[in-house]
């Protein structure tokens, strides 16, 4: 499909290709059968130009900034599509569904990774003043749906005054509903509950209303009932946004001050920042500065996302749009930063935090010679995802590579997937790890982002170790409570809460070491609950733990890329499992191979792989040596793809497989 090729391009620019790519399959559209009576203003149709003087018509009172928050799959993106259509911002049937999810990974996984933003114009028929039908400027600020990006979420929410809390009418409140509700609640947003998918036969909106009341103290009469699929009830949504959500505060006559919501890199235009104007107005030609870096820039272009970039030359107080200011890298555009008039000193907006990296892994080219290619691919990708930290590292087994820090597991997965899909890079990644802290008897402390870097025999006493934890929320049908409690205690979790949210479903809260959930936890949880569990987590404190470094040795040589940090009590079991797995994946060689797991100099698990007996071609071949030669050449190529430690060849699959065991059970 031609559309697929387009998708692979730089994700954010896709909408520019839409017109040129009619092959975006229309058949996959799940359009509502019934057209909604459109109240869109014709002068601001999808193709209409918007001038700066028109924007002046929207003082803060006529502006609403809101986002949609929901558990995954409850219909956030579909609802956003409908609202964009309803306001004529996009044309029905002209884009793929989930318009705002532009990354291929977002489409494949049905998740939103990067927050998106769109401006809509809407003529509101007010109930009280039927003579006056003023137009409003509505900014829909989409948020990532996953906890890894909770910082991005919190920044997006900081630019909003309200949120649509979308809940599936059949599934009811789920783990991410709860997490997202609290994020919005803590940001003091007006929350409009939207019970969606009421067209489903199993929809039970009354039960959902009860849950909302019980969990969040939301008045059942406030809930809107919608179907983003059939269009039912959608006409209430935007009026509710206008009537229930306050307009943005902010001083129109103050020097300009804005919140940087997001940024991305465009090959032609350079860095494009999404901003919410808090105070004042921003005009083309203005000089602005970053509160975080102190650097100054000139505004080269400014406009709104409608939903494509539409230059307006100006943005006024309370409005949301984009700015291009000659930044060379997204690293200069830190999410949550305050941009302000260059000459004046201003109070930075609250809440700016540098990205916090919670999951680390080594990334190496699958074929050692491809280092340059991988390096290039990573560089390009981090242009658009400045939240990944990258440092070069070298491994005895894997050669030159990178230690990458991610916001969380999903962030890491998405990064890997984008590397492969968008840049065609083949990578080996090492077992993901978390930032541990080791303190020694002499008072020195180290943060360990790569277990291999921690001395196996430090020569001094380890006084204490700390590891990051999370607070996990798990919602399950009550019959699964037993197995889930078992799982959590195996993973060293501590129960914080156990309640019922309705007659059938329980809510569990656990404090768990982050390391215990980064590999395979969610899969296992799904497995033991027939897929019914929903799970979410938020970062919590570091806790002191009895941690040890475990080395994997092949014929006595440590394989640095396989070193891990484990809890002392689990070391034996994990070591045994790793060693067994390796025995399966390493092929017999011309000598015996001992595979050991060791803590310091103490071996805790051991397997031996006996020497290969035979690999000979003893066949009559009448002088025709070409086939035999080909066979040997093939064997040579096979050896070349292996990674080597000492004299032992390790197939690449062994590294992939270890990722799967490292921490489970």
């Amino acid at each position: 499909m031609a559309g697929a090729a387009v998708l692979r391009r730089s994700a954010r620019r896709i909408y520019r290709h839409l017109a040129a790519a009619p092959a975006f399959s229309r058949s996959v559209l799940q359009q509502p059968k019934r057209l909604l009576s459109s109240q869109s203003s014709p002068e601001h149709g999808a193709r209409g130009a918007v001038s700066g003087s028109e924007l002046a018509l929207y003082p803060p009172e006529r502006v609403r900034n809101f986002s949609i928050i929901a558990h995954v799959d409850h219909g956030k993106s579909t609802l956003a599509d409908r609202l964009l259509e309803l306001t004529g911002t996009i044309q029905k049937g002209h884009g793929q569904p989930q318009y705002l999810d532009k990354l291929q990974v977002e489409r494949e996984r049905g998740i939103t990774v990067k927050a998106q933003t769109a401006t809509m114009f809407y003529r509101h028929v007010s109930a009280s003043q039927d003579s006056d039908t003023p137009k409003y400027l509505l900014n829909l600020i989409d948020t990532p749906g996953h906890v890894d990006f909770s910082y991005e979420v919190s920044r997006s929410l900081a630019a909003c005054q309200g949120a649509l809390l979308v809940v599936d009418a059949a599934q009811g409140v789920q783990a991410q509903t709860i997490a997202n509700f609290y994020l919005a609640f803590e940001s003091n947003l007006s929350i409009i509950p939207v019970i969606n998918k009421i067209d489903q036969p199993t929809a039970d909106p009354d039960n959902v209303k009860d849950q909302l009341k019980r969990l969040f103290d939301i008045d059942p009469s406030e809930a809107l009932l919608t179907s983003a699929k059939t269009g039912q009830g959608l006409e209430q949504v935007l009026p509710a946004v206008i009537e229930r959500i306050p307009s943005p505060p902010g001083k129109c006559d103050a020097p300009v001050r804005m919140l940087l919501l997001d940024s991305y890199y465009d090959e032609y235009k350079g860095v494009i920042c999404h901003v919410a104007i808090v105070d004042g107005a921003l005009r083309k030609g203005d000089k602005i500065a970053s509160a975080a870096t102190g650097r100054a820039y000139e505004v080269l272009d400014v406009g709104i996302m409608h939903p494509e970039l539409k230059p307006t030359g100006v943005l006024y107080t309370g409005q949301v749009g984009y700015v291009i200011s000659g930044m060379r890298s997204t690293k200069e555009a830190r999410i949550g930063d305050t941009l302000h008039q260059a000459k004046s000193t201003v109070e930075p907006l609250p809440g700016f935090k540098p990205a916090k990296h919670m999951v680390f892994s080594g990334l190496y080219p699958a074929d050692g010679s491809d280092f340059e290619a991988l390096s290039h691919a990573i560089e390009k990708l981090t242009c658009n995802d400045a939240s990944v930290s990258i440092t070069k590292e070298t491994s005895n087994a894997l050669g030159m590579g990178f230690r990458c820090g991610f916001l969380g597991l999903l962030h890491m997965d998405v990064f890997h997937q984008r590397l492969e899909q968008e840049y065609g890079a083949q990578v080996i990644s090492t077992i993901p790890t978390v930032p541990y802290i080791f303190e020694y008897g002499d008072g020195s402390k180290v943060q360990v982002e790569n277990p291999a870097a921690l001395a196996s025999n430090p020569g001094k006493r380890v006084a204490a170790c700390w590891e990051p934890t999370v607070i996990a929320t798990i919602i399950i049908p009550s019959e699964y409570v037993g197995p889930v409690i078992m799982l959590c205690s195996e993973r060293r979790g501590e129960q914080l809460e156990y309640t019922f949210i309705d007659a059938q479903r329980a809510l569990l809260k656990y404090q768990l070491p982050l390391k215990e959930i980064i590999v395979d936890f969610y899969n296992e949880l799904k497995g033991i609950t027939s897929g019914y569990a929903t799970f979410d987590y938020e970062d919590s404190e570091y806790q002191q733990s009895d941690l040890v470094k475990m080395d994997i040795l092949l014929n006595g040589q440590p394989v640095d890329a396989m070193a891990t940090i484990v809890h002392n009590q689990k070391a034996q079991r994990v070591g045994k499992e790793l060693v067994e797995k390796l025995k399966k994946f390493i092929e017999r060689q011309m000598f015996e191979i001992t595979i050991q797991a060791a803590i310091g100099s103490k071996v805790i698990a051991r397997e031996t792989l006996s020497a290969m007996r035979k690999n000979v071609l003893a066949k009559c071949y009448g002088g025709d040596i070409t086939r035999k030669k080909k066979l040997l050449e093939k064997q040579k190529e096979g050896k070349k793809r292996m990674k080597r430690v000492g004299s032992v060849d390790i197939p690449q699959e062994a590294f992939h497989e270890l990722l799967k065991v490292s921490n489970s059970k």
């Binding site: 035979k614 690999n615 000979v616 071609l617 066949k619 002088g623 064997q635």
Partner: protein
């Protein structure tokens, strides 16, 4: 200089041949440079191809079989059971398919231009198949005549023919010997009825014993080989020991022990996977190999190549051509020649082969297959010479491909010299302790002062030859 140093030729241990016929000093012709070059530190030769040597060997493919054996993936023509040979091979019994094929083959021989006009005659001729013993001796004679006319035959050439039990009688063998055949390679494969049947062989144990009787009784035929296959389905160690005992009792001058390879597209390929019952496990089949090596050595055979054993002096000279990387002609369906540095495999189907012969006659055929470069040559030399007990002659190798490449090879093999899979030897072919070997590798100047040859050990190194040789490949062609 190059001409003498290349291709890598090693004379085999020159114990006094027990053959009754005088043997031409085949290997010596190419071996003279080895001893004169010990002190030469000349830079590696530029990567020019050596001038071609004229071939002194010819392989002739006679593809006819009664039926295809279950393990076979050679280009053959199955005749069906109707064509049992008539004793004496009279005209009436001649199958037109055979006659037509030999006709075609003779056309190929006459259309092939000899590499040299200085009249280097053929030293060896090998009739392989297929089952060449199904071809009437009269036709074999016409082929030999054609070869003699085209390329010349030396005074005492080695002329081998593959024969299967049940396809010949005493008279027919006498006739073959009469037209110049002097070496027989008898395809016995096993001494157990069940195993022979399971392989799809066209003969039983009775025919095996008869054939051995005929061959050993044949006047004027001293040199013959018994071919065996190990690792057959359901083969037990007892059966293998029995086959080896019967072999030793039959007193052939040569034994070939092939290890069953399961090839794609064969009946066995569909039925079995290597290492899985009823095929022996890798450990068992390695054990079969070791047993053969032990039993045959005890009975006075030299294990001179991975799958070849002989009484002293009875190496198959034709096969030495292959292992010493010397050129050879080839004729017939699917056969592979090596002439002027170019390896060429003929079409494997009769129709295409016939078309190809036509083109050859018309002069419209030219080699598509690329000629080998220096790297290819080095790969060939290593791959072939490491199959032999003689091993790789490092001085010759250095001379042709550079000392540093020879040194890298030795460095790669260092751990295996230590573990005993590879044996390093001095000029006098005495094994070097690995300490001495390593001393030799410390710098390029000293390299070669002690070590002169490396070979794979018997049986452990031979058993891992693919591994060891592919390691060497990784050095030569990274």
């Amino acid at each position: 200089m190059l001409r003498l140093a290349f291709p890598l030729v090693s004379h085999l241990p020159r114990t006094k041949p027990a053959a009754v016929r005088p043997r031409p000093p085949l290997a010596r012709r190419y071996a003279s440079s080895a001893s004169t070059s010990a002190s030469s530190f000349s830079p590696p030769p530029s990567p020019l191809l050596p001038p071609p040597l004229p071939p002194a060997s010819a392989y002739v493919h006679l593809p006819f079989c009664r039926k295809r054996c279950h393990y076979c993936d050679f280009p053959i023509v199955a005749l069906g059971s109707s064509s049992a040979p008539s004793p004496g091979g009279g005209e009436a019994a001649e199958d037109p398919r055979i006659v037509d094929y030999v006709q075609l083959l003779l056309r190929e021989v006459s259309a092939t231009r000899p590499v040299s006009d200085d009249g280097v005659p053929l030293e060896t001729v090998f009739f392989g198949g297929g089952t060449p013993s199904l071809v009437p001796p009269r036709l074999v004679a016409t082929i030999l005549d054609a070869l003699r006319a085209r390329f010349g035959l030396s005074a005492c050439p080695e002329v081998s023919i593959e024969m299967d039990p049940g396809t010949f009688d005493a008279a027919r063998l006498r006739e073959l010997v009469g037209v110049g055949v002097n070496r027989v390679s008898l395809g016995v494969q096993a001494f157990q009825e069940d195993l022979l049947r399971a392989c799809g062989r066209a003969h039983g144990v009775k025919e095996v014993h008869e054939a051995v009787g005929i061959v050993t009784a044949c006047e004027g035929l001293q040199n013959w080989s018994m071919d065996l296959i190990s690792s057959l389905p359901n083969q037990t160690q007892e059966m293998w020991e029995e086959s080896l005992r019967c072999t030793v009792d039959a007193r052939p001058t040569h034994v070939s022990v092939y290890d069953l390879q399961i090839e794609q597209g064969t009946k066995f390929g569909q039925m079995y996977s290597p290492g899985v019952f009823p095929l022996p496990s890798d450990t068992e089949s390695a054990n079969f190999y070791k047993i053969a090596s032990k039993r045959l050595s005890e009975a006075g055979y030299n294990h001179y190549e991975i799958s070849s054993y002989c009484k002293p002096g009875y190496e198959c000279k034709h096969n030495l051509t292959y292992w010493q990387n010397r050129p050879f002609y080839a004729f017939g369906l699917g056969s592979a020649s090596y002439i002027n540095g170019i390896r060429y495999s003929r079409p494997r189907r009769t129709k295409e082969y016939a078309e190809w012969v036509q083109k050859l006659e018309d002069g419209t055929w030219c080699h598509e297959s690329r000629s080998s470069d220096m790297k290819d040559m080095a790969l060939d030399v290593v791959m072939l010479s490491l199959r032999t007990a003689w091993g790789l002659d490092l001085q010759s190798f250095s001379k042709s491909f550079g000392k540093s490449l020879a040194l890298s090879l030795c460095n790669t093999f260092k751990p295996f010299v230590e573990s005993g899979l590879v044996i390093a030897m001095d000029m006098d072919r005495r094994a070097l302790p690995h300490i001495d070997f390593e001393l030799d590798l410390q710098n390029e100047d000293d390299f070669g002062s002690r070590v002169a040859f490396i070979r794979l050990s018997d049986p452990d190194g031979f058993l891992l030859s693919n591994e060891l040789i592919s390691l060497a490949f990784g050095i030569i062609s990274p």
